[in-house]
Point group: C2
């Protein structure tokens, strides 16, 4: 077989992630690799931690990127906090709440599931009810921005309810970090994970996490070892912790971290509130524009994400063909529905560097043309 250097096409990435990458970030990725224990690299790690604290709006000392994709951030939070036999209340309103439930079981935890319809927010009263009925549960888990449906949940309120019931909270912010208002300290969230390929507009492969002191205390006082060696925070913090000496755990993904640093720097330059506002404004514009061509958002306005919008597929349209045509004719990627929403919605991402007026116009124009065929 004849192999050659790979040259990817240039796509407009408007699916559920990855989003388009700022050229500054792509450039950072290709800087010379240095050692993972090089003092100059340790300096970079410190800056990444500070910039991540800004992005998460937290002073949590334990704030760093897990060296693997967002799903590993999820698993890291769950395997560290849950001990076998523990009841965990988990809210499921899409694929990612369901994934949490699956991992809770693999940790030996006992999930108590609070179900909400796909495309709606997590219902605070349902969570309250589940916590009241299960006073033994000391952890509640929910998703801020459900990437599979485009629904936003009121994490501030869900966390208040959880605290009232003496529960630590595990919060999925994969799609919300940098795109939706998120205040880890003010909202007193305990274990929060995210991804880099959504509103941070980095390539996929890293999972920023942050843990409150209460969460770290629970982890330090575990009776059993964390089942994963790679994800065990007691070990990882020897490298990412704030001690004077960094000890080897695994080899950090150096160049990916160059990229994350630059992406976080761009967010810092824009200002986190401005980033939230930009996503909100562009989400509104997109929804208005699709209405003009006869389409409608799947999620109702008050529960809708701005950075990831599920669009109901019209009855006459060939869902997969429209996506294929957008990709092949216009180089625009949009996402398919997942799970219960497969075939029923397109998922359009306006995340990070992708979220701008020109991309909205490109996408709406292409959809309009393809649906008119």
């Amino acid at each position: 077989m004849n192999f050659q250097t790979y040259n990817p096409p240039e796509r407009v990435l408007m699916g559920p992630g990855p989003s388009n990458i700022n050229p500054r970030v792509l450039n950072a990725l290709s800087k010379p690799t240095i050692g993972h224990l090089d003092p100059r690299f340790i300096d970079l790690m410190d800056e990444i931690k500070q910039l991540l604290k800004y992005a998460f709006q937290t002073e949590n000392d334990v704030t760093f990127p897990v060296s693997a994709p967002g799903s590993t951030g999820m698993e890291t939070c769950l395997v560290n906090l849950i001990e076998p036999g523990e009841k965990v209340v988990v809210c499921v309103n899409g694929v990612f709440g369901g994934r949490m439930k699956e991992i809770i079981e693999r940790c030996g935890g006992i999930p108590v599931v609070v179900n909400d319809d796909w495309g709606t927010s997590v219902g605070p009263s349902k969570l309250e009810e589940a916590l009241t009925e299960n006073p033994v549960a000391k952890i509640a888990a929910f998703v801020h921005a459900e990437t599979s449906t485009g629904a936003l949940s009121d994490v501030k309120t869900l966390a208040e309810i959880s605290r009232k019931h003496d529960c630590l909270t595990i919060v999925d912010t994969v799609t919300s970090l940098g795109g939706s208002e998120l205040k880890v300290d003010e909202w007193e969230l305990d274990a929060v994970y995210s991804g880099t390929q959504k509103c941070l507009s980095c390539p996929p492969g890293l999972s920023p996490v942050t843990f409150s002191e209460k969460a770290i205390n629970k982890i330090k006082n575990r009776k059993t070892k964390v089942q994963s060696w790679f994800m065990d925070l007691n070990l990882v913090l020897g490298y990412w912790g704030s001690g004077s000496k960094r000890s080897y755990h695994h080899t950090a993904p150096i160049n990916s971290l160059y990229g994350l640093h630059e992406a976080l720097l761009i967010l810092h330059e824009e200002g986190i509130e401005n980033a939230w506002q930009r996503h909100t404004a562009n989400g509104k514009i997109f929804c208005n524009e699709i209405k003009k061509i006869g389409l409608s958002p799947f999620v109702k306005e008050e529960e809708r994400l701005s950075q990831l919008i599920s669009v109901t597929v019209p009855k006459h349209a060939d869902e997969a063909l429209v996506r294929t045509n957008l990709l092949e004719k216009y180089n625009i990627e949009i996402g398919a529905g997942l799970g219960a929403l497969a075939g029923k919605v397109w998922r359009v991402g306006l995340m990070g560097h992708t979220s701008n007026i020109n991309n909205i116009n490109l996408c709406v124009d292409a959809l309009s043309k393809e649906l008119a065929v």
Copy 2:
């Protein structure tokens, strides 16, 4: 705080990894990101699998890069193959054998440890003895190239012995892949993991793995679920498997995979046997050169790796100061000893793109100057 774009120094990477990256690979990393389900990306995945099969010298269908560092490749092999209560014979002659033991325990396995001195190969007769004494054990695990000591083990013989005792083999080839003779099919190895930042000269962050049919059969017939969701091959293969349809599991680290593709292409262009020979020849040259300045390799010749050489620290030398001076004055990184060898050896890597005569001369010259002070 005032944050700025990060500009790493240019280092000559002669530690235990990462090694220096070919500029072609750095360039590949910064190509435009595309979606992880884009048909053009699926094509790239297929090429990566084929190129990895070449590197591993295997026709195993299940050959792909785990989306996380080498330690995760180790954990992936162990969590998938071991069920709770299973006895596993594990050979420990350095840090990484020890890490396998630790992970075996976290999987609920019962490790039977075969100890060898640090800096020596795994002893085939010791393995044979342990397998004879533990006929219930159906898995044997060992390290091909111990990164912590610089010792090479005879994996071909160890695998023969294991097969005789009806054991599947789990083999660590993190430092050997692309640098030492390794023939997965000819030697009939069952679960093999590696890293990208050693002789493949990619940035760290991915872990190539390959599994024999026998290994996959064991995994498919497990009685219990794999404890890790992220590492569960039954799920991962929905994305990396050879089925006609790729389904979403986690978001693959796109740009890192661009880099891996280019690095594997470079290996393919050189030819795997040529790469092995280059590493062997340069290892010999390095050892001859250090003898001329009064230094000696820690591992005896017949058990010594060519791509990672432990050098005994002379009595009069300040181990840490020499490393610091090499880094600060010459931009040359060499590694410290780990665990039992801390303070006793330097570890000098001649891996992948780093393995050339100029780097040998730079390093020996710098060591000579610093030791003469």
